[in-house]
Symmetry: C2
Subunit: 195 residues, 2 copies
Protein backbone atom coordinates (compact mmCIF):
# COMPACT_ATOMS: atom_id res chain seq x y z
CA UNK A 1 0.00 0.00 0.00
CA UNK A 2 1.88 2.93 -1.38
CA UNK A 3 0.35 5.60 0.87
CA UNK A 4 1.40 3.65 3.97
CA UNK A 5 4.93 2.99 2.70
CA UNK A 6 5.37 6.69 2.02
CA UNK A 7 4.13 7.50 5.52
CA UNK A 8 6.63 5.06 7.04
CA UNK A 9 9.45 6.62 5.03
CA UNK A 10 8.47 10.19 5.84
CA UNK A 11 7.39 9.86 9.50
CA UNK A 12 8.70 6.54 10.79
CA UNK A 13 11.93 6.52 12.72
CA UNK A 14 14.30 3.60 12.36
CA UNK A 15 15.93 3.36 15.79
CA UNK A 16 17.95 0.21 15.07
CA UNK A 17 18.02 -2.60 12.51
CA UNK A 18 14.92 -4.07 14.15
CA UNK A 19 13.12 -1.15 15.84
CA UNK A 20 10.79 1.11 13.88
CA UNK A 21 8.90 3.89 15.64
CA UNK A 22 5.58 4.82 14.06
CA UNK A 23 4.03 6.56 17.03
CA UNK A 24 3.17 9.69 15.05
CA UNK A 25 0.47 7.90 13.05
CA UNK A 26 -0.19 4.33 14.23
CA UNK A 27 0.40 3.46 17.86
CA UNK A 28 0.32 6.60 20.01
CA UNK A 29 -0.84 9.49 17.87
CA UNK A 30 -3.16 8.16 15.17
CA UNK A 31 -3.70 9.48 11.66
CA UNK A 32 -7.42 8.86 11.16
CA UNK A 33 -7.33 9.59 7.41
CA UNK A 34 -4.65 6.92 6.97
CA UNK A 35 -6.68 4.53 9.18
CA UNK A 36 -9.68 5.13 6.94
CA UNK A 37 -7.59 4.21 3.88
CA UNK A 38 -6.19 1.16 5.67
CA UNK A 39 -9.72 0.04 6.52
CA UNK A 40 -10.71 0.43 2.88
CA UNK A 41 -7.69 -1.61 1.77
CA UNK A 42 -8.26 -4.52 4.16
CA UNK A 43 -11.98 -4.55 3.33
CA UNK A 44 -11.11 -4.75 -0.36
CA UNK A 45 -8.51 -7.50 0.06
CA UNK A 46 -10.79 -9.68 2.21
CA UNK A 47 -14.07 -8.84 0.46
CA UNK A 48 -14.38 -12.42 -0.83
CA UNK A 49 -13.65 -14.14 2.49
CA UNK A 50 -17.07 -14.13 4.14
CA UNK A 51 -15.75 -12.40 7.26
CA UNK A 52 -18.23 -12.16 10.16
CA UNK A 53 -15.89 -10.87 12.87
CA UNK A 54 -12.58 -9.03 13.20
CA UNK A 55 -10.26 -10.00 16.04
CA UNK A 56 -7.41 -7.79 17.23
CA UNK A 57 -5.49 -7.00 20.44
CA UNK A 58 -5.52 -3.81 22.45
CA UNK A 59 -4.36 -1.13 21.97
CA UNK A 60 -2.73 -0.43 18.63
CA UNK A 61 -4.84 -2.86 16.65
CA UNK A 62 -8.07 -1.08 17.58
CA UNK A 63 -7.95 1.87 15.18
CA UNK A 64 -7.32 -0.15 11.99
CA UNK A 65 -9.78 -2.84 13.16
CA UNK A 66 -12.61 -0.36 13.77
CA UNK A 67 -12.10 1.30 10.38
CA UNK A 68 -11.96 -2.08 8.63
CA UNK A 69 -15.07 -3.19 10.49
CA UNK A 70 -16.93 -0.10 9.37
CA UNK A 71 -16.01 -0.71 5.72
CA UNK A 72 -16.83 -4.44 5.87
CA UNK A 73 -20.00 -4.15 7.95
CA UNK A 74 -18.67 -6.45 10.70
CA UNK A 75 -17.81 -5.85 14.33
CA UNK A 76 -14.28 -5.94 15.68
CA UNK A 77 -13.48 -7.46 19.06
CA UNK A 78 -10.25 -6.57 20.79
CA UNK A 79 -8.58 -9.16 23.02
CA UNK A 80 -7.68 -7.71 26.38
CA UNK A 81 -4.20 -8.03 27.83
CA UNK A 82 -3.43 -8.89 31.44
CA UNK A 83 -7.03 -9.55 32.22
CA UNK A 84 -7.41 -10.70 35.76
CA UNK A 85 -7.86 -14.39 35.13
CA UNK A 86 -9.55 -15.32 38.38
CA UNK A 87 -12.85 -15.61 36.51
CA UNK A 88 -12.12 -17.56 33.36
CA UNK A 89 -15.33 -19.46 32.84
CA UNK A 90 -16.67 -17.12 30.19
CA UNK A 91 -13.32 -16.30 28.56
CA UNK A 92 -11.10 -17.74 25.90
CA UNK A 93 -7.52 -16.95 26.91
CA UNK A 94 -4.00 -17.50 25.60
CA UNK A 95 -0.45 -16.50 26.48
CA UNK A 96 1.44 -14.07 24.28
CA UNK A 97 5.15 -13.47 24.66
CA UNK A 98 6.54 -10.11 23.59
CA UNK A 99 10.19 -10.36 22.52
CA UNK A 100 10.42 -6.57 22.39
CA UNK A 101 9.33 -6.08 25.99
CA UNK A 102 10.39 -9.57 27.18
CA UNK A 103 7.14 -10.13 29.02
CA UNK A 104 4.46 -12.78 28.67
CA UNK A 105 0.92 -11.56 29.04
CA UNK A 106 -2.42 -13.26 29.02
CA UNK A 107 -4.91 -12.17 26.39
CA UNK A 108 -8.60 -12.95 26.66
CA UNK A 109 -11.82 -12.67 24.70
CA UNK A 110 -15.33 -13.11 26.08
CA UNK A 111 -17.12 -16.21 24.83
CA UNK A 112 -20.11 -13.94 24.21
CA UNK A 113 -18.48 -12.48 21.10
CA UNK A 114 -16.86 -15.38 19.26
CA UNK A 115 -18.31 -18.76 18.40
CA UNK A 116 -18.13 -21.66 15.97
CA UNK A 117 -20.25 -19.90 13.35
CA UNK A 118 -17.81 -16.99 13.03
CA UNK A 119 -15.41 -16.47 10.14
CA UNK A 120 -12.65 -14.39 11.67
CA UNK A 121 -10.25 -11.88 10.19
CA UNK A 122 -7.28 -11.30 12.50
CA UNK A 123 -5.92 -7.75 12.27
CA UNK A 124 -2.88 -6.27 13.96
CA UNK A 125 -0.63 -3.27 13.63
CA UNK A 126 2.68 -5.18 13.53
CA UNK A 127 3.86 -8.66 12.62
CA UNK A 128 7.42 -9.51 13.69
CA UNK A 129 7.82 -12.75 15.62
CA UNK A 130 4.17 -13.60 15.22
CA UNK A 131 3.41 -14.25 18.88
CA UNK A 132 0.32 -12.04 18.99
CA UNK A 133 -1.17 -13.69 15.90
CA UNK A 134 -0.43 -17.16 17.30
CA UNK A 135 -2.25 -16.20 20.51
CA UNK A 136 -5.26 -15.01 18.53
CA UNK A 137 -5.21 -18.19 16.41
CA UNK A 138 -5.27 -20.19 19.64
CA UNK A 139 -8.37 -18.27 20.78
CA UNK A 140 -10.10 -18.84 17.42
CA UNK A 141 -9.40 -22.57 17.75
CA UNK A 142 -10.88 -22.62 21.25
CA UNK A 143 -14.02 -20.96 19.87
CA UNK A 144 -14.21 -23.49 17.03
CA UNK A 145 -14.48 -20.55 14.63
CA UNK A 146 -13.12 -20.44 11.06
CA UNK A 147 -10.23 -18.26 9.97
CA UNK A 148 -10.52 -15.96 6.96
CA UNK A 149 -6.94 -14.76 7.19
CA UNK A 150 -4.60 -12.29 8.81
CA UNK A 151 -4.29 -8.61 7.94
CA UNK A 152 -1.16 -6.78 9.08
CA UNK A 153 -0.45 -3.06 8.78
CA UNK A 154 3.35 -3.30 9.01
CA UNK A 155 5.29 -6.56 8.74
CA UNK A 156 8.95 -6.87 9.62
CA UNK A 157 9.54 -9.29 6.80
CA UNK A 158 13.08 -9.99 8.01
CA UNK A 159 11.72 -11.54 11.21
CA UNK A 160 10.25 -15.06 11.30
CA UNK A 161 6.56 -14.53 12.20
CA UNK A 162 5.21 -14.02 8.70
CA UNK A 163 6.87 -17.15 7.30
CA UNK A 164 5.75 -19.27 10.24
CA UNK A 165 2.13 -18.24 9.78
CA UNK A 166 2.13 -18.53 5.97
CA UNK A 167 3.75 -21.99 6.31
CA UNK A 168 0.59 -23.11 8.08
CA UNK A 169 -1.32 -22.31 4.90
CA UNK A 170 -2.82 -19.16 6.37
CA UNK A 171 -3.51 -16.19 4.11
CA UNK A 172 -1.57 -13.15 5.33
CA UNK A 173 -2.17 -9.74 3.76
CA UNK A 174 0.46 -7.17 4.71
CA UNK A 175 0.07 -3.52 3.74
CA UNK A 176 3.75 -2.63 4.15
CA UNK A 177 6.29 -5.44 4.32
CA UNK A 178 9.74 -4.28 5.37
CA UNK A 179 12.67 -6.11 3.82
CA UNK A 180 15.41 -4.37 5.77
CA UNK A 181 16.02 -1.44 8.08
CA UNK A 182 19.78 -1.30 7.58
CA UNK A 183 21.46 2.10 7.44
CA UNK A 184 18.56 3.75 9.25
CA UNK A 185 16.18 3.39 6.34
CA UNK A 186 13.20 1.10 5.79
CA UNK A 187 13.10 -0.75 2.45
CA UNK A 188 10.08 -2.72 1.38
CA UNK A 189 9.39 -5.96 -0.45
CA UNK A 190 7.52 -5.39 -3.68
CA UNK A 191 3.82 -6.04 -3.09
CA UNK A 192 3.68 -8.72 -5.77
CA UNK A 193 6.32 -10.71 -3.94
CA UNK A 194 4.39 -10.98 -0.73
CA UNK A 195 0.85 -11.50 -1.96
Amino acid sequence: MKQLQEKIVSEGRVLSESVLKVDSFLNHQIDPVLMDAIGEEFASRFSDAGVTKILTIESSGIAPAVMTGLKMGVKPVFARKSQSLTLTDNLYSASVHSFTKNVTSEISVSKDFLDKDDVVLILDDFLANGQAVLGLLNIIEQAGASLAGVGIVIEKGFQPGGKEIRDRGIRVETLANIKTMENGKAEFFEEAMVR
Copy 2:
Protein backbone atom coordinates in the same frame (compact mmCIF):
# COMPACT_ATOMS: atom_id res chain seq x y z
CA MET B 1 -27.87 11.03 21.74
CA LYS B 2 -30.94 8.92 21.20
CA GLN B 3 -29.27 6.15 19.17
CA LEU B 4 -26.74 5.57 21.95
CA GLN B 5 -29.34 5.59 24.73
CA GLU B 6 -31.37 2.99 22.83
CA LYS B 7 -28.26 0.85 22.41
CA ILE B 8 -27.54 1.04 26.15
CA VAL B 9 -31.11 0.01 26.93
CA SER B 10 -31.16 -2.85 24.41
CA GLU B 11 -27.60 -4.24 24.79
CA GLY B 12 -26.17 -2.84 28.03
CA ARG B 13 -26.33 -5.01 31.12
CA VAL B 14 -26.88 -3.37 34.49
CA LEU B 15 -24.96 -5.63 36.88
CA SER B 16 -25.53 -3.50 39.99
CA GLU B 17 -26.63 0.01 40.87
CA SER B 18 -23.24 1.29 39.72
CA VAL B 19 -21.92 -1.25 37.18
CA LEU B 20 -23.01 -1.12 33.54
CA LYS B 21 -21.58 -3.58 31.03
CA VAL B 22 -21.41 -2.30 27.47
CA ASP B 23 -18.86 -4.75 26.12
CA SER B 24 -21.01 -5.74 23.16
CA PHE B 25 -20.57 -2.36 21.46
CA LEU B 26 -18.10 -0.08 23.25
CA ASN B 27 -15.27 -1.62 25.22
CA HIS B 28 -14.61 -5.17 24.06
CA GLN B 29 -16.64 -5.80 20.94
CA ILE B 30 -17.09 -2.51 19.09
CA ASP B 31 -20.02 -1.40 16.93
CA PRO B 32 -18.25 0.60 14.20
CA VAL B 33 -21.48 2.08 12.81
CA LEU B 34 -22.33 3.45 16.25
CA MET B 35 -18.75 4.74 16.62
CA ASP B 36 -19.13 6.54 13.30
CA ALA B 37 -22.32 8.23 14.57
CA ILE B 38 -20.61 9.09 17.86
CA GLY B 39 -17.71 10.67 15.95
CA GLU B 40 -20.19 12.72 13.93
CA GLU B 41 -21.96 13.86 17.10
CA PHE B 42 -18.80 14.95 18.93
CA ALA B 43 -17.51 16.69 15.81
CA SER B 44 -20.78 18.59 15.54
CA ARG B 45 -20.89 19.59 19.22
CA PHE B 46 -17.29 20.83 19.25
CA SER B 47 -17.21 22.25 15.73
CA ASP B 48 -16.87 25.80 17.10
CA ALA B 49 -14.06 25.03 19.55
CA GLY B 50 -10.97 25.26 17.34
CA VAL B 51 -9.81 21.77 18.30
CA THR B 52 -6.31 20.82 17.04
CA LYS B 53 -5.85 17.56 18.96
CA ILE B 54 -7.95 14.86 20.62
CA LEU B 55 -6.61 13.25 23.78
CA THR B 56 -7.90 9.94 25.13
CA ILE B 57 -6.66 6.92 27.13
CA GLU B 58 -6.15 3.38 25.91
CA SER B 59 -8.03 1.23 25.22
CA SER B 60 -11.73 1.98 25.14
CA GLY B 61 -11.35 5.65 24.26
CA ILE B 62 -9.54 4.87 21.02
CA ALA B 63 -12.48 3.89 18.80
CA PRO B 64 -14.63 6.99 19.50
CA ALA B 65 -11.52 9.21 19.38
CA VAL B 66 -10.40 7.94 15.97
CA MET B 67 -13.87 8.38 14.49
CA THR B 68 -14.19 11.88 15.96
CA GLY B 69 -10.72 12.75 14.68
CA LEU B 70 -11.68 11.62 11.19
CA LYS B 71 -14.81 13.79 11.21
CA MET B 72 -13.01 16.84 12.66
CA GLY B 73 -9.82 16.53 10.62
CA VAL B 74 -7.59 16.32 13.72
CA LYS B 75 -5.40 13.57 15.10
CA PRO B 76 -6.16 11.70 18.30
CA VAL B 77 -3.41 10.72 20.73
CA PHE B 78 -4.02 8.01 23.26
CA ALA B 79 -2.28 8.19 26.63
CA ARG B 80 -0.61 4.93 27.50
CA LYS B 81 -1.18 3.20 30.80
CA SER B 82 1.55 1.60 32.91
CA GLN B 83 4.25 2.90 30.64
CA SER B 84 7.62 1.95 32.01
CA LEU B 85 8.57 5.26 33.51
CA THR B 86 12.32 4.73 33.64
CA LEU B 87 12.68 7.09 30.69
CA THR B 88 10.48 10.07 31.44
CA ASP B 89 12.40 12.89 29.81
CA ASN B 90 10.22 13.02 26.72
CA LEU B 91 6.93 12.18 28.43
CA TYR B 92 4.17 14.00 30.21
CA SER B 93 2.82 11.65 32.88
CA ALA B 94 0.14 11.59 35.55
CA SER B 95 -1.35 9.15 38.04
CA VAL B 96 -4.88 7.87 37.54
CA HIS B 97 -6.71 5.97 40.23
CA SER B 98 -9.42 3.55 39.17
CA PHE B 99 -12.06 3.10 41.87
CA THR B 100 -13.56 0.19 39.92
CA LYS B 101 -10.34 -1.79 39.83
CA ASN B 102 -8.80 -0.16 42.91
CA VAL B 103 -5.45 0.35 41.19
CA THR B 104 -3.45 3.47 40.45
CA SER B 105 -1.72 3.50 37.11
CA GLU B 106 0.57 5.96 35.43
CA ILE B 107 -0.57 7.40 32.13
CA SER B 108 1.82 9.08 29.75
CA VAL B 109 1.90 11.05 26.51
CA SER B 110 4.95 11.79 24.39
CA LYS B 111 5.95 15.45 24.34
CA ASP B 112 6.25 15.08 20.56
CA PHE B 113 2.48 15.11 20.15
CA LEU B 114 1.17 17.79 22.49
CA ASP B 115 2.41 21.34 22.99
CA LYS B 116 1.36 24.84 24.04
CA ASP B 117 -0.17 25.65 20.65
CA ASP B 118 -2.67 22.79 20.88
CA VAL B 119 -6.36 23.18 21.64
CA VAL B 120 -7.30 19.83 23.09
CA LEU B 121 -10.56 17.92 23.17
CA ILE B 122 -10.50 15.20 25.83
CA LEU B 123 -12.59 12.16 24.88
CA ASP B 124 -13.34 9.08 26.91
CA ASP B 125 -15.79 6.19 26.94
CA PHE B 126 -16.95 6.60 30.55
CA LEU B 127 -17.11 9.36 33.14
CA ALA B 128 -17.85 8.22 36.70
CA ASN B 129 -15.47 9.50 39.37
CA GLY B 130 -13.58 11.61 36.85
CA GLN B 131 -10.10 10.33 37.65
CA ALA B 132 -9.14 9.63 34.04
CA VAL B 133 -10.23 13.09 32.90
CA LEU B 134 -8.35 14.71 35.79
CA GLY B 135 -5.20 12.84 34.76
CA LEU B 136 -5.58 14.03 31.18
CA LEU B 137 -6.20 17.60 32.37
CA ASN B 138 -2.96 17.36 34.34
CA ILE B 139 -1.10 16.32 31.18
CA ILE B 140 -2.64 19.18 29.18
CA GLU B 141 -1.48 21.61 31.89
CA GLN B 142 2.04 20.21 31.74
CA ALA B 143 2.06 20.77 27.99
CA GLY B 144 0.77 24.33 28.41
CA ALA B 145 -1.95 23.50 25.89
CA SER B 146 -5.49 24.92 25.89
CA LEU B 147 -8.60 22.88 26.64
CA ALA B 148 -11.59 22.89 24.27
CA GLY B 149 -13.68 20.66 26.51
CA VAL B 150 -14.46 17.09 27.43
CA GLY B 151 -16.53 14.65 25.39
CA ILE B 152 -17.90 11.57 27.16
CA VAL B 153 -19.75 8.67 25.58
CA ILE B 154 -21.48 7.45 28.76
CA GLU B 155 -21.60 9.42 31.99
CA LYS B 156 -22.72 7.94 35.28
CA GLY B 157 -24.42 11.15 36.29
CA PHE B 158 -25.09 9.82 39.79
CA GLN B 159 -21.35 9.69 40.49
CA PRO B 160 -19.34 12.81 41.31
CA GLY B 161 -16.88 13.17 38.40
CA GLY B 162 -19.08 15.18 36.06
CA LYS B 163 -20.00 17.77 38.69
CA GLU B 164 -16.39 18.14 39.81
CA ILE B 165 -15.21 18.83 36.26
CA ARG B 166 -18.10 21.15 35.35
CA ASP B 167 -17.53 23.06 38.61
CA ARG B 168 -14.11 24.00 37.25
CA GLY B 169 -15.86 25.79 34.40
CA ILE B 170 -14.99 23.07 31.92
CA ARG B 171 -17.40 22.29 29.10
CA VAL B 172 -18.49 18.64 29.28
CA GLU B 173 -20.55 17.11 26.48
CA THR B 174 -22.03 13.74 27.40
CA LEU B 175 -23.81 11.61 24.80
CA ALA B 176 -25.71 9.47 27.31
CA ASN B 177 -25.96 10.67 30.90
CA ILE B 178 -27.32 8.04 33.26
CA LYS B 179 -29.47 9.30 36.13
CA THR B 180 -29.96 5.99 37.87
CA MET B 181 -29.44 2.27 37.40
CA GLU B 182 -31.85 1.15 40.11
CA ASN B 183 -34.00 -1.93 39.50
CA GLY B 184 -31.60 -3.21 36.85
CA LYS B 185 -32.50 -0.51 34.34
CA ALA B 186 -30.61 2.54 33.12
CA GLU B 187 -32.56 5.80 33.11
CA PHE B 188 -31.16 8.94 31.53
CA PHE B 189 -31.14 12.63 32.25
CA GLU B 190 -32.89 14.62 29.54
CA GLU B 191 -30.30 16.01 27.16
CA ALA B 192 -31.43 19.60 27.75
CA MET B 193 -30.70 19.21 31.45
CA VAL B 194 -27.07 18.28 31.01
CA ARG B 195 -26.02 20.52 28.15
